[in-house]
């Protein structure tokens, strides 16, 4: 009965801007995440340059202390929440359904909602610059510095902006878990999934359990700041250390949320450009799962100096050191993949190959930090700053760049220019090491973190200058990358379906991927399934179903409106604390009317979504024949 109605149902199809605002197609959502992530990357990068300029010379007056604190907080918050995570979601959306032979994710509507909610959260966060000052208590927002008593309105934007954006991350985690569990093509058992899909699965599990503690922490601090609760305020019996626990129970798994997808990308890119299958697939799966599990058991290593005592510190120090083991397994497996392989050097593989030593450098300083007695020396110095930039920039960002160059043809039907790519790679890698390597020594020589300036003649002057020069090299790299993106966009979309002689399923379909992904769901006959078919002499995958009408989900404007409702609500609650002169503004904000209105919009949209069934639409076989290989 339902299918009978669906094929007669006329569904609105949009073009242009409305197409992008209403899309539930994972491929378009990938592009939306990519564009937003790259935009915020430029923003966060400018914030980084401002920091480095201020620190270029001792006692420099480029930024005052308050502004510096705001730039610093926003740099970290932007890079983690508005750049790294969205770019990870971009890669997931671009590649995972194609890698498992699915036509879309399990919940296309929620996929779109996740994106819009992230974007509005990011916009809310950045509105703070114009509405009284950005958040200024560091991306870790420790109490009591972050409470009302010691800070302005900026921190409310952090709390509520991230609350809203965090909902998006949770939705993506649930979506990809359900997709990978339920929607793999016939024959794709778990142990035949590509490594990138595996890391997506484990990362989604981490997101599932790590994002809600963050949500609780944020809401508790929001209650403290907006409604005079006493969670973290010692004057009311609250506990600042409680904030640290809650934040880091989220915060540590968060960094594995960032790095595991990068590991997945590296596994794909290293194998493809070594022209050799990934070494030790089973142990890679095991190591990924173990890292995911252990990531929840180490959070106190961010709090060694808080006073929990030697036993607690020792337990968590040991647990932290243990994580190095599965990570080491992965490193060796990548090296063994490259050994004896026919290495091809493209921009993607340059990023991937350079990831290995860079990330290892970050990892070993992590093991140094894992030892509580040593950490008492390193804590809150530039040594920590060096460590996490090595693992994040030398790990996550290198991995993301590799993934972007690798999957760009599949997403856009065009290849990024290789010459420009390689030049920008060299600026990036040299600039990165120049900026951060010296910071290890700055930390060991005593320079604390989060300081807006320093006295001269402590031996810190030249290293800081060198570090800043490195930052400018990275800036040049980003400019070249942006130029590359623009000139590529202007090219004809004539990239081949399989430009890299790939091994996994996404390379078996045209570039860019057609709207319906696969004309017929393929039959999976082994690991590296596309390579298997190639070795058997087949040009294409064997289909697992006859040609038939393909059911597609309908586009919808509701996710955009729901996210807008949350945004309005956030503004409403934040502004309830503002001192306005205009009595009308006072009336509507102090009564929480705007805050409640936003929530009403959200709930009305949820009701509409529940009441209106979405039958979707069908693409008929005749259209598929006519379209041939193009979208």
């Amino acid at each position: 009965m339902a299918s009978h109605a669906a094929s007669h149902h006329e569904v609105k199809r949009y073009k242009g801007l409305m197409d992008w605002l209403t899309t539930v197609d994972h491929k378009k959502i990938a592009i939306l995440y990519l564009a937003s992530g790259l935009f915020f990357f430029v923003l966060g990068g400018i914030e980084a340059l401002l920091i480095r300029i201020q620190l270029m010379f001792p006692m420099f007056n480029f930024l005052d202390g308050q502004t510096y604190n705001e730039v610093l907080t926003m740099h970290g918050t932007t890079m983690i929440f508005l750049v790294a995570m969205p770019l990870v979601f971009a890669m997931w959306n671009a590649a995972v359904p194609l890698q498992i032979g699915a036509r879309d994710v399990a919940f296309p509507f929620l996929n779109s909602l996740g994106f819009w909610v992230f974007l509005f959260g990011g916009i809310l966060l950045n509105l703070s610059w114009f509405l009284g000052g950005a958040p200024d208590a560091g991306w870790t927002m420790y109490a009591p510095l972050a409470l009302r008593e010691f800070s302005g309105p900026g921190n409310d934007y952090y709390l509520i902006g991230l609350q809203i954006a965090g909902i998006g991350s949770l939705l993506s985690g649930i979506n990809f878990l359900a997709t990978i569990i339920n929607m793999r093509a016939p024959g794709m058992t778990f142990m035949r999934m590509p490594l990138f899909t595996w890391t997506t699965l484990v990362t989604s599990l981490i997101i599932l359990f790590a994002l809600t503690p963050l949500a609780v922490g944020l809401i508790e601090m929001t209650f403290d700041r907006l409604f005079d609760a006493k969670f973290f305020n010692p004057a009311g019996g609250g506990s600042p250390v409680l904030w640290e626990h809650i934040f880091w129970i989220f915060g540590h798994p968060e960094v594995y949320i960032l790095v595991l997808p990068a590991f997945g990308i590296i596994s794909e890119v290293v194998a493809t450009f070594s022209s050799k299958r990934l070494f030790g697939y089973g142990s890679m799966v095991f190591a990924t799962s173990l890292i995911g599990l252990l990531s929840f058991m180490v959070w106190v290593h961010h709090m060694f100096t808080v006073g929990m005592g030697p036993i607690a510190n020792a337990l968590f120090g040991v647990a932290t050191s243990l994580i190095a083991i599965p990570t080491g397994i992965k490193i060796f497996n990548w090296l063994f993949t490259m050994w004896g392989g026919h290495l091809r050097f493209t921009t993607a593989s340059l990023y991937a190959f350079s990831f290995i030593p860079s990330f290892v450098m970050g990892g070993v300083t992590g093991v140094m930090l894992a030892l509580p007695p040593a950490d008492y020396q390193f804590h809150d110095t530039y040594f920590v700053v060096a460590h996490f930039h090595y693992v994040i920039v030398g790990g996550v960002v290198l991995g993301l760049f590799a993934g972007m160059y690798y999957w760009w043809p599949k997403m856009f039907g065009r290849m990024l220019n290789e010459t420009l790519g390689k030049i920008s790679f060299w600026f990036w890698i040299i600039g990165f090491h120049l900026t951060f390597f010296i910071q290890h020594f700055l930390g060991l020589w005593g320079m604390p973190r989060r300081v807006f300036t320093y006295l001269e003649n402590q031996g810190w002057d030249l290293p800081n200058l060198v570090s800043t020069i490195g930052a400018f090299l990275m800036a040049i790299s980003v400019i070249l990358f942006v130029i590359n993106v623009v000139i590529t966009w202007a090219k004809k979309p004539d990239a081949p379906g399989d430009p890299w002689d790939g091994r996994t399923l996404e390379w078996s379909i045209p570039s860019p991927a057609p709207e319906y992904n696969f004309r017929q769901i393929p039959l999976i006959r082994g690991l590296d399934c596309y390579w298997k078919e190639k070795m058997a002499g087949n040009k294409e995958m064997t289909p697992a179903e006859p040609l038939g009408p393909i059911h597609m989900p309908s586009p919808s404007i509701l996710p955009f409106i729901m996210a807008l409702g949350l945004f309005i609500s956030g503004i409403g609650f934040i502004m309830s604390k503002y001192e306005f002169e205009n009595s009308f503004l006072v009336a509507i904000f102090h009564s929480y009317a705007v805050g409640i209105l936003g929530l009403v919009i959200l709930f009305v949209c949820m009701i509409i979504r529940s009441l209106k069934d979405d039958p979707g639409y069908h693409i008929e076989p005749e259209e598929l024949e006519a379209k041939g290989a193009k979208a």
């Binding site: 985690g173 359990f209 503690p213 508790e220 209650f223 609760a229 969670f231 305020n233 609250g238």
Partner: protein
């Protein structure tokens, strides 16, 4: 074979008959996993802060176990009603499904009424949201649970209305199943709330 005869064309387990239905159920279980972490964090905050009442009333002084016992019984019974609703869904009895869901909503509202009465009473005793860390964490934990009950009540009420129009189909089946899962989940959370907050509060 199943014990009851179906003269209609609907499959036995409505909620699992389609990929969309199976996805929704899996997705919802995953969401409940995340909610476990959410309530777990709220519990941890409460456990950490419950001793800090800053001279205000203590847990032992405030809580009245007879009201809590009544509220527990009401919520537990409403959870049983939702089980009955799913059972009737498997027997394709639309009328009985709507009846048991409506009963669930009614008892859910009774639970909320008791809780609101309880909170108003506490505020008069000097136990407000801002009075201490104990108070903030108490109202947040129990209040979050209560807001989940409120959301569930609205959701199931809407579902009862929808079912009147759409009937039992492979599209509405998963909705009923998922709503019942949600309702059971908040009952399980309440088991821990009355144990950790109220009973432990009385023991001291």
């Amino acid at each position: 074979m199943s014990a009851h005869s179906h003269t209609d064309h609907l499959p036995a387990e409505l909620e699992k008959a389609t990929l969309e239905g199976r996805n929704k159920i899996l997705g919802f279980w995953l969401f409940l996993g995340a909610e476990c972490a959410l309530f777990g964090t709220l519990f941890a905050s409460y456990l950490a802060l419950r001793g800090n009442n800053m001279g205000g009333p203590t847990a032992n002084e405030l809580f009245d176990l007879s009201i809590v016992a009544l509220a527990t019984f009401i919520l537990l019974t409403s959870s049983l009603f939702s089980v009955l609703a799913v059972h009737e869904m498997h027997r394709h009895n639309l009328g009985k499904v709507r009846f048991w869901l409506a009963a669930t909503v009614l008892f859910g509202l009774a639970f909320l009424a008791l809780e609101i009465y309880e909170f108003v009473h506490y505020v008069h005793e000097g136990h407000t949201f801002s009075s201490s860390a104990f108070a903030s964490s108490f109202y947040s934990l129990v209040g979050f649970h209560g807001s989940h009950v409120l959301f569930g009540v609205c959701w199931i009420a809407l579902l009862v209305a929808q079912l009147g129009r759409k009937g039992l189909t492979v599209v509405t089946g998963p909705k009923i199943y998922v709503a019942a899962l949600y309702w059971h989940f908040i009952d399980v959370v309440w088991v821990f709330i009355f144990t950790v907050v109220y009973l432990m509060g009385k023991v001291g």
